[in-house]
């Protein structure tokens, strides 16, 4: 019975957990509930992934109403992979959260914090699992509203501004998404993604469908912080509580990328998006702009969290580059970078969160000499930083390798060259922190620092270890990403 209902449980458990947290009103108990739920989530996701690998796509009819009338939860390799990613990050981050949240959030808000966090998790998992266009919007808003509230809980008063800014931009994005869905609905009369894809075949190239594609692209791009639409991201990441930043950086944008993949490849189809429309050129240009522009901005940041936020924008450029390539290797690179970037940015932000826990600041100048005081944390930071650069033996290299292959497959050797150049820029900003942390005299702020508590250290090390492990053993990550890319390129499921 549990096995049959796994798709529903994946979303309902966090929802129930949030309810229990909100009723308990006691911080530690709420953390316990959130921990249990977060640890159950990867089990659900692994169960789903194994089932999908063995028996193919799972379809779950909500309320027993068969699709396309009812809401359908549809799990194939791509979203099973994403579900696993999001729930694993959620599970790793929960033990870390306890100390971090106690240090950064007022005690009376702890229970609410965990309740809202679980709602955010529920929303993200919901977007990934549902096969209904409007249901995606509902989950998108659940996760976004929860995110705004989580960001606003940051200690700095500028967190409020960041949350407000994100609220305005995020709402515009979500509304654009609904407009797109509205056009699709009025053209096809269906909200089920698979059903829409089937019916679109008859009315391709009608102007309303093109308008739908445009609105969906812009709306989702706002959510995934594609380069010129990224302005909300640096402030939001810089001022949110550390645990929220690590979680969002690792998951939120990835789920939006998945949504873009889903619409481009499964709903509209490669033929319409990439062959008839200039989407390849546009995405290619914006991705390159992100890879170079955001990386260069990152170099000049004073605040380490902000620097990593800009680096995130740049890394999202690599993922969208994989989408723009739209061939087997390129797409594999994009999808595997989705996974790899989650690991490395999760690890980096968690290490910074540990620093913030000890010295109360993440200004780059204040980090001076921290390598002597917190060698393990900073060592993890450097390893994960090497991943961002893409040094062989780390996950970053794997993704860039596939992206490079994809570029050659299209005959664009200059693109492979540009990928290498942009990696060199990331050497500068990662190197800047490494220099400050290891080779400078200890700063005033770092004088009394020591290693963070085990609860924070172990999750950080775990993710860092994962960035190295998946750099060598790529059968799981790149293997599944390759199969997902195959499936996407084949079009309709």
């Amino acid at each position: 019975m549990i096995a049959d209902n796994l798709p529903a449980l994946q979303v309902v458990l966090p929802l129930l957990g949030a309810v229990v947290c909100a009723m308990l009103r006691r911080g530690t108990l709420a953390w316990g509930v959130a921990l249990i739920v977060s640890l159950l989530m990867p089990l659900c996701a692994i169960g789903l992934l194994l089932e999908v690998l063995e028996n193919g796509t799972i379809s779950y009819a909500f309320g027993g109403w068969p699709p396309p009338i009812g809401i359908e939860y549809r799990v194939d390799i791509i979203n099973a992979f994403l579900l696993l990613l999001v729930s694993l990050i959620g599970a790793v981050i929960m033990p870390y959260a306890k100390s971090s949240v106690e240090a950064e959030i007022a005690p009376e808000n702890h229970a609410w914090f965990y309740a809202i966090y679980l709602l955010c998790l529920c929303g993200l998992l919901g977007i990934a699992i549902t096969g209904d266009a409007f249901n995606v919007f509902v989950f998108m808003e659940i996760s976004s509203l929860a995110t705004y509230a989580l960001i606003a809980m940051g200690r700095d008063r500028r967190a409020l501004l960041a949350a407000y800014q994100y609220l305005v931009v995020g709402t515009i994005g979500a509304t654009m998404y609904v407009i797109g869905v509205g056009f699709l609905y009025s053209m096809t009369g269906s909200l089920n993604l698979v059903d829409i894809a089937g019916r679109l075949a008859d009315i391709e190239n009608s102007r309303a469908v093109m308008a739908a594609l445009a609105f969906l692209t812009v709306g989702i791009s706002l959510k995934l912080a594609l380069f010129p639409l990224h302005v909300w991201l640096p402030n939001a990441y810089a001022y949110a509580p550390s645990m929220v930043t690590s979680f969002l950086a690792a998951t939120a944008t990835k789920v939006a990328v998945y949504l873009l993949l889903r619409y481009y490849f499964s709903v509209f189809g490669v033929a319409v998006v990439f062959e008839e429309l200039p989407v390849t050129e546009i995405l290619l240009f914006l991705s390159l702009a992100a890879m170079f522009g955001a990386s260069i901005i990152a170099i000049f940041q004073e605040d380490a969290k902000r620097m990593l936020a800009y680096s995130s924008v740049a890394q999202i450029g690599y993922i969208t580059l994989g989408i723009a390539l739209a061939n087997q290797s390129g797409l594999t690179g994009g999808i595997v970078h989705l996974f790899n970037h989650a690991l490395m940015k999760g690890a980096l932000f968690m290490a910074l969160g540990a620093v913030f826990y000890r010295i109360g600041t993440v200004k780059i100048d204040d980090l001076a000499g921290l390598g002597k005081k917190m060698p393990i944390t900073m060592g993890a930071f450097v390893l994960a930083g090497l991943s961002v650069i893409g040094v062989p033996g780390t996950v970053g290299f794997v993704s860039k390798w596939y992206l490079g292959l994809g570029a050659f497959e299209n005959g664009w050797w200059w693109l492979a060259f540009l990928i290498v150049i942009s990696s060199l820029i990331s050497v500068v900003y990662v190197g800047r922190i490494v220099e400050v942390v290891w080779f400078r005299p200890i700063s005033q702020a770092a004088r009394s620092a020591k290693e963070p508590p085990l609860g924070m250290l172990l999750p950080t090390l775990l993710l860092t270890a994962a960035t190295v492990y998946f750099g060598f053993d790529t059968t799981a990550s790149a293997g599944i990403a390759g199969r997902a890319a195959e499936l996407l390129l084949a079009g309709l499921r």
Partner: protein, 121 residues
């Protein structure tokens, strides 16, 4: 003449486009945070119209199966938009809550003044 007729016949679209553009304009052009939220509300409201108006059949009956009823208007857009309205209410409430707290900690809700203050410190 045909163009004019078509324009008038699709007046609901014109209303929708007007609301959408003016909402977006207010969000971009106004510095007052409450006014921005009002613009955001207008923008969202225009989408309600986008869904509801194509679902209505002129002279259609309520969506009940039965003798002598039909063709009926599509009930689904109403349900979807009810959900969207709830989302809109939640967004507005959260946005206003943020504005209240911004006002408490910065002493103003004008974006220019806040940014000016931020630059000084």
């Amino acid at each position: 003449m045909a163009i004019l007729e078509q324009t008038v016949a699709h007046y609901n679209h014109w209303v929708m486009i007007f609301l959408m553009i003016s909402g977006l304009y207010i969000v971009v052009a106004r510095g007052n945070m409450v006014k921005k939220l009002v613009g955001l509300g207008l923008f969202q409201t225009s989408v309600y119209l986008l869904y509801i108006s194509p679902g209505k059949i002129l002279g259609g009956t309520p969506p009940i199966l039965g003798e002598g009823l039909g063709p009926y208007s599509n009930p689904l857009p109403h349900v979807l938009i009810l959900t969207a309205i709830v989302v809109g209410v939640a967004t507005l409430a959260l946005g206003l809550a943020l504005v209240v707290r911004i006002n408490e900690s910065f002493g103003t809700i004008e974006e220019d003044e806040i940014f000016a203050e931020e630059d000084d410190t």
